[in-house]
Amino acid sequence: MSTQAQGAAETPGGPTVELTLRFDGRPLKAAPGQSVGGALAAHGITAWRSTRKGARPRGLFCGIGVCFDCLVTVDGAANQRACLVEVRDGMQIDGSYPQAEGDRQ
């Protein structure tokens, strides 16, 4: 499991494929079929949006596209819902909440 993206469930009948994303400029492994939110959570990243008023951290909440708490920039397209967007190899993901070193597993 160590070389494989965390949370990469084995595809029945096939080897586990790996994708690489860039999150806030850093490479991050993901598995096909994961949502952006799913891939971030698999690395222990729980917050990527900063609220407008209080600059408070936010991440997944409703999980189904209703709450807009999980907004993220995907390949330059702002305000995308991380719970709905499926990962693609080479995808650039940018959050608005500063990630502290050591937040990742």
Partner: protein, 498 residues
């Protein structure tokens, strides 16, 4: 619309919004009755919330593990795919209806992509019917149909509690959706809280996937079911499901604590623990019963469900308050609303679970395809399920005293970061007693989610202590200028479309 074209128009006899249990059933029934059906769904593949599964591009033949009623899904899906092959169902996934209109032609639906498309996907593809993908990744487009069946489902109802805005706090259904969609868990150590039988599959799903459920906290008590046992006995499959969950709870030693609530989420920048307490029948905290769970990653909350009423409300359909305090659409025995030609099925006619949603969808689809009375057997099954749902709502109410759990600085509107004291002040000093005046005085419900998450709670707070939100207030809250955020270009295209 020719697949993939932006701003194009497609015409059908019957349009169905939603491809969950209700929408799939409605589409299949309408197509099998001979109608040309267009199905618009925000999801990327069929299933809705209940039958959400991993992307079929990755797991082409899901085995239905972790699902209930999967056989019913497989049957509906086969009929759905067959109708697509016959050209009778045009499936438009990944599109969100942001505005419905009633006009001479029937109904017009304006849509927008749920997810921005990658540049590489811009070329239209026409996937074979039967794949989870639809008839081309359509750009924003317009659907025109003589009849309309709305099956938009719902989402977890929430009550604010101190600290619920911290990352790591999720909707209970959101945890379930995460698991069903990704095949993994959003954390390791969970507490699940709120009320209703739906907390059971959430906790069981977490445990079966390898997560640790520290506790399930249920505000109600099993004794609350006693007056409703006859209604419960009418739907024996529910008792069977309950027994399955009980077995999973026993196997994983999941503590199920009744008359218990989370009073506060602990943590600085993410949830790290919860404070809990026992409550009385009204939900008032019993002093001396406080406890703490440490080292918690994810807290899941579910207080029943809120039906997505914006589309029915935008079209002017008559509504009522259901037994659970939710605003729902009024329909006749054919699922037709007060607007001729507009049918409603699934959670929007009352939260009642997937089996009822399927029965209602079948009835609505057949009726929308041609004038037809409801099937008698379906009607009596639907009645039994509705009695069960009503019993469930009475046994698992939102605790009357929930407002007492709030502190003055508890966030109520997560988007605009409006606190409980700002809302009660607007109520007491400015007379904001309904969701509409609350919006203008405090901005509660004016943010990205347009009040979907806080609408119920804010409406109750405005109404006052121990009062639930009125139908009028909830209906005002569901009047959203747009069903989804859209671009200026899409707004401008309205002039030429209609």
């Amino acid at each position: 619309m020719s697949p993939g074209k932006v701003g194009s128009i497609m015409k059908a006899d019957v349009a169905v919004v939603g491809a969950g249990p209700a929408g799939l059933a409605a589409a299949v029934a309408a197509a099998e009755a001979g109608a040309l059906v267009a199905v618009v769904d925000a999801g990327a593949q069929p299933g809705g919330q209940f039958w959400r599964h991993r992307p079929e591009t990755v797991v082409p033949e899901p085995d239905g593990s972790g699902h209930h009623g999967w056989r019913s899904y497989v049957d509906l899906r086969a009929r759905f795919d067959a109708a697509r092959r016959r050209g009778q169902i045009i499936y438009l996934p990944g599109l969100q209806v942001w505005m419905p209109e009633k006009n001479d032609a029937g109904f017009t639906l304006h849509t927008t992509p749920a997810v921005a498309r990658a540049r590489s996907e811009d070329a239209a593809t026409n996937d074979p019917a039967g794949s989870g993908a639809g008839n081309g990744p359509a750009g924003s487009g317009t659907v025109v149909a003589r009849r309309l069946v709305l099956c938009p489902g719902g989402y977890d109802r929430q009550l604010p509690v101190p600290g619920w805005e911290l990352p790591g706090v999720m909707a209970a259904g959101g945890i379930q959706a995460f698991l069903k969609g990704n095949g993994t868990l959003p954390g390791r150590r969970f507490v699940v809280a709120g009320t209703g039988p739906f907390l059971l599959p959430v906790a069981a799903g977490i445990a079966e996937a390898g997560g640790q459920v520290l506790a399930v906290l249920e505000s109600s008590s099993p004794a609350a079911w006693l007056p409703h046992l006859r209604a419960a006995a009418g739907v024996p499959e529910k008792a069977l499901e309950g027994a399955e969950y009980a077995a999973v709870f026993a196997r994983h030693r999941i503590p199920y604590r009744t008359r218990s609530i989370v009073t506060e989420i602990l943590g600085q920048d993410r949830a790290s623990g919860v404070r809990t307490a026992k409550v009385d029948a009204d939900g008032r905290v019993r002093p001396g019963t406080e406890g703490v769970y440490d080292d918690v990653d994810v807290v899941g909350f579910g207080w029943g469900f809120t039906p997505q009423m914006e589309l029915p409300v935008a079209l002017g359909a008559d509504t009522r308050l259901d037994a659970d305090g939710s605003l729902v659409g009024i329909v006749d025995e054919r699922q037709e609303s007060s607007i001729p030609g507009l049918f409603l099925a699934g959670e929007v006619t009352g939260v009642g679970g997937a089996s009822l949603a399927v029965i209602e969808g079948l009835t609505a689809g057949a009726a929308a395809a041609r004038e037809r009375a409801a099937d008698k057997a379906d009607a009596s099954r639907a009645t039994r399920h509705r009695r069960f749902a009503e019993a469930m709502h009475h046994a698992h109410p939102v605790p009357a005293a929930w407002q007492e759990w709030l502190t003055p600085d508890t966030t109520v509107c997560r988007c605009e970061e409006v606190t409980a004291s700002q809302i009660t002040e607007a109520r007491d000093t400015l007379g904001a007693r309904d969701s509409r005046s609350l919006k203008s005085f405090t901005r509660a419900g004016m943010g990205w989610c347009q009040g979907r998450v806080c609408g119920f709670a804010a409406g109750c707070l405005a109404a006052g202590q121990r009062v639930s939100a009125s139908a009028q207030s909830l209906s005002d809250a569901a009047k959203r200028p747009l069903g989804a955020p859209v671009s200026i270009g899409e707004l401008a295209s309205l002039e030429t479309d209609s």
